[in-house]
Symmetry: C2
C-alpha cells in the first residue's frame, strides 16, 4: 500500500498545462468577452432549485474527464453574475481592469503566503511601497499598515489597535481588566462597526450612535454630546469612527471638526474610507476628505472604486512606533526566527491576526504601474462625472426624484409611479412610495 | 472638466485582452514550467536592498507601456519563491493543482463577493455542497459552516460562537457583562489561539496551557486538572481547543478522551484541524481523528495538504439551529432585504464577520470534480507514504536523527555534525546540537 502510493504518478504536468490553457480561453470567451458586452445579459438568472439541477454540484467518488470539466467552467461562468458587465450596478464595485486581473492571476499561480521576506521577498517589498503611497495620499510622511481580507476586518484592526493604545494590558488580561469601552459612529456608518465591537467583546450596546444631518454627515456637536454622555455613564470613550463615503448616501463625515472633538477628548480617530478613500486620488474631489491626515487610522479599499478586484483593503496607521506589531504579535518562533541571515525587520507577518495571508498588493501595484497616478485620477474623476451626468438626467425626467444631491458617486433616487405624482404633500406619500 | 472625463475613453477591451493573453503565457512559462522544473531554482534569492533596485517598485505619475509591464510580471515571478517547485518545503503547503488553479483564475475573473444568492447564485449553492461534503467526512449529518480567510480567523469564529453559545448577551453587552472566560489548549497548539483570545478581548492570560506527552499530544488528565484549576480561580471554562496536526510535530490530540472531559464539564470542543483535517479523506489514516464528530466545531484548511491554494479554510459547526447567523448577524437592510423575490434562506452573507467575501469554494469544488474523492484520497496517502519513506531513509543515514517517529506528514530530524556524533550523553549535547 505504501509502495503503491509512492509509485502512483503525481500530477501530469502536460495535461495540467493543457487544461489551464483551455480553461483560460473559456474564461476569456465566456467571462470577459461576453461579460463586458452590453448586449449580453448580466446574469442568466435561474431559481435556486433549477440551478442546482443544471449544475450537478455533488462531489463524487470518481473524477471527471477534462472535457466535462471545461463545460463545468463554462456553466459556472454562464450562470454567475458578470460583475465586469457595463450594466452591473448591484454593489460598490464593478468593471474589470485587465492589469489588475493579470496581477491577480499571477498572484494565484504563485500561491504565496505573505509571512516573511524569506517566503515572499518581492511582495514584502511591494506591499510596503503600495502602503506608503496610500499613506502619502492621506498626507502622512510616516506610518504603518497592512492589507486585510476586506474593510470589515480593517475596521476591526482599528478598534483593536485603539483599545491596545489605551490599555495595552488588555491583550493579556482581557476586557475584564479595563473600564467599559465606548465607541462612537454615525447612524449612517457601515454595519461592520457593529460586527466589530461584537467580535472584539466590546458589545453593540457600547456603540453610541451619533446623529447625522440631512445629507447623512455626522454632526460633530452631537458627537461631543454623546462622548460626554458616555463619560457620565462611567464608560471610557476609546474610538471614534468617521465614515468617508457612507454605504447608502455616499456621505463624507466632516473630518476636521471631528478631529477637533477627538483631540479635545483624546480619543482615537479612525476613518472608514473603505468606499470614499479613492477620492484622494483626485485633485478635484479630494477636498471631501479634508482633515483625514489628522486620523489615527484609516481603512481604504482599492477593490471598490479603483477596480482592483476583491480583496484589496488597506488598514493604515499614523503610528510609526511599531504599535501594529506589538498589538498583534504572538512571536511564534518556528516562523519568525530571530537568527535569520537577513534583516528581520522585513518579516511583517506577526503584525496580523492571520497566519497565512494572501498577497493583495500585486494587483494594485501592477494596475498603478500601468495607469500611473494620473490614469487612476482620471478613473476617479470619470466616476464622479458619470454620477453628475446621471443626476442631471434624473432631474430632467418626469417621475424620477433625487433623494439628495450627490457629492460622491452614490446616486439615490425614487421612481415615482404615475399614481403618486404630484402628491408629495400627502401624509402617506413616503410610505406608499417605499412600497 | 466634467465633459472631459465623460468623453475620455474607458478601457480598451482589445488591448486589455491582448495583455491578459500575454501575461498568461508569461505565467505559464516563467511560473509554471520553470517553477515545477526541479533543475531550476526554487527562488532566485536577492538581498532586500538589491531586490529593491532590480524591481523599481515606486509608483509614479505616468503609466508604462505594455511591454515593460510584461517584463515586470516576468521579474515578479522570477524573484518570487516558486511554491509549486518540487523542492519547496518551507511551509505547510506546496505543489500546484491545475484544476484548483483554473478555479482560482476564474474566481478572480468573476470577482464575485459572496453575500447573497442574487449576487452569487452559483457560489452560494456550491459553497453549501462543499461544506456539506466536509461535514460528512467529519461524520455530521447536519450542521453549518462558512469559508474564512485562513485558519486563524476560522479559529476565532470558533471562539466567538462558543462565547455566544454560553452567553448570547455578550454580543450586546461585551465581556464586562459575563464572567471571566477560560480557554484551554495544548502547549503545542497553533499561535492563532493566542492571537484569537487577544483579539476577542478575552486576553492571553486566560488561556490555560495543557501539558503534552512526548509525542506532542494533549494529556486529557491534565486538561481536566486545568479546568478544575480555572474553576477554582473563579473563571468560566468556555472553550477547549484540540489540535489535529500540530504545526511542528504534526501531533494529533486524543479527541475521544478530550470529548469525554468536555462533556463532563459541558465545554465547547473546537478542533483545529487546519493542518490535519485532510487525513479524513484517507480510509487508512482517518483514525488519527477518531472522535472528531463529537466536536462542536472544526477548522479545516484544504489549502494546505490538498493543494487547493490560498485561501481555502472551512469553519464547520455541528449546530444546525442557525447559531452562526445569530452570533454574527447585523441585519443590514440595504444588503439583506427581507422582501426579495427568492427564498432568502440562501442569503448567507450575514453569517460572517466580513462584508465583501471572496469565493473560496470553487477551486476546491473543481479540483474535487477532477480528482474525485478517490483521487484526493490517493493524494493524502501519497503524502503519508513519502513521509514514511523519508523517515526510513533518515534512520539509515549516519549523522541524521529523528526527533520523533512521524504519525502524520511532518518529519522533524536533526543533522548531527561529525564533531557531536556519539556524544548524546553529554550535558550540553542538545544546546550544541541546536546551535
Amino acid at each position: 500500500m505504501a509502495e503503491d502510493a509512492l509509485s502512483h504518478p503525481g500530477l501530469d504536468k502536460d495535461a495540467g498545462e493543457e487544461f489551464l490553457q483551455e480553461a483560460f480561453q473559456v474564461m476569456l470567451e465566456e467571462g470577459i468577452r461576453k461579460g463586458m458586452d452590453a448586449s449580453e445579459k448580466v446574469c442568466d438568472w435561474k431559481e435556486p432549485e433549477q440551478l442546482q439541477q443544471i449544475l450537478d454540484l455533488e462531489l463524487k467518488h470518481d473524477g471527471e474527464p477534462q472535457e466535462r470539466l471545461l463545460e463545468r467552467c463554462r456553466d459556472v461562468i454562464r450562470y454567475s453574475v458578470k460583475t465586469c458587465h457595463p450594466r452591473f450596478f448591484n454593489q460598490l464595485f464593478s468593471g474589470l481592469d485587465p492589469h489588475a486581473l493579470a496581477g491577480r492571476l499571477i498572484t494565484e499561480m504563485l500561491n504565496t503566503s505573505q509571512y516573511t521576506y524569506e517566503i515572499a521577498p518581492v511582495f514584502v517589498l511591494m506591499e510596503e511601497v503600495v502602503l506608503r503611497k496610500l499613506r502619502e495620499l492621506i498626507g502622512w510622511e510616516k506610518g504603518d499598515g497592512i492589507f486585510c481580507p476586506g474593510g470589515s476586518i480593517s475596521n476591526m484592526y482599528a478598534m483593536n489597535v485603539a483599545r491596545y493604545h489605551c490599555f495595552p494590558d488588555c491583550k493579556q488580561k482581557g476586557n475584564w481588566a479595563i473600564p467599559k469601552l465606548a465607541a462612537f459612529t454615525s447612524r449612517e456608518c457601515h454595519y461592520s462597526i457593529q460586527k466589530g465591537v461584537a467580535f472584539l467583546g466590546i458589545g453593540t450596546d457600547n456603540i453610541y450612535l451619533v446623529a447625522v444631518d440631512e445629507k447623512g454627515k455626522m454632526i460633530p456637536a452631537d458627537l461631543e454630546k454623546q462622548i460626554n454622555q458616555a463619560k457620565s455613564e462611567g464608560a471610557f470613550p476609546f474610538f471614534v469612527n468617521a465614515t468617508c463615503g457612507t454605504t447608502v448616501l455616499g456621505a463624507f463625515d466632516p473630518l476636521a471638526e471631528i478631529a477637533d472633538v477627538c483631540e479635545r477628548h483624546r480619543i482615537w480617530l479612525h476613518v472608514d474610507a473603505a468606499w470614499g478613500g479613492s477620492a484622494l486620488l483626485s485633485q478635484r474631489h479630494r477636498h471631501l476628505l479634508d482633515g483625514i491626515k489628522r486620523a489615527d487610522s484609516v481603512a481604504w479599499n482599492p477593490h471598490k472604486m479603483l477596480m482592483t478586484g476583491l480583496q484589496c483593503s488597506a488598514f493604515l496607521l499614523r503610528d510609526s512606533s511599531g504599535m501594529l506589531q506589538r498589538c498583534h504579535c504572538a512571536k511564534a518562533t518556528y516562523l519568525f526566527q530571530t537568527d535569520k541571515f537577513y534583516d528581520m525587520a522585513y518579516d511583517r507577518g506577526d503584525q496580523t491576526i492571520q497566519c497565512g495571508r494572501k498577497v493583495d498588493c500585486f494587483k494594485l501595484w501592477l494596475m498603478w504601474k500601468a495607469n500611473g497616478t494620473a490614469g487612476l485620477e482620471r478613473r476617479v474623476d470619470r466616476a464622479f462625472a458619470f454620477t453628475r451626468y446621471l443626476a442631471d438626467e434624473i432631474k430632467k425626467r418626469e417621475g424620477f426624484q433625487l433623494v439628495v444631491e450627490p457629492e460622491f458617486i452614490n446616486l439615490c433616487f425614487w421612481y415615482v409611479p404615475p399614481s403618486l405624482r404630484g402628491q408629495e404633500g400627502c401624509d402617506d406619500y413616503s410610505v406608499r412610495l417605499g412600497k
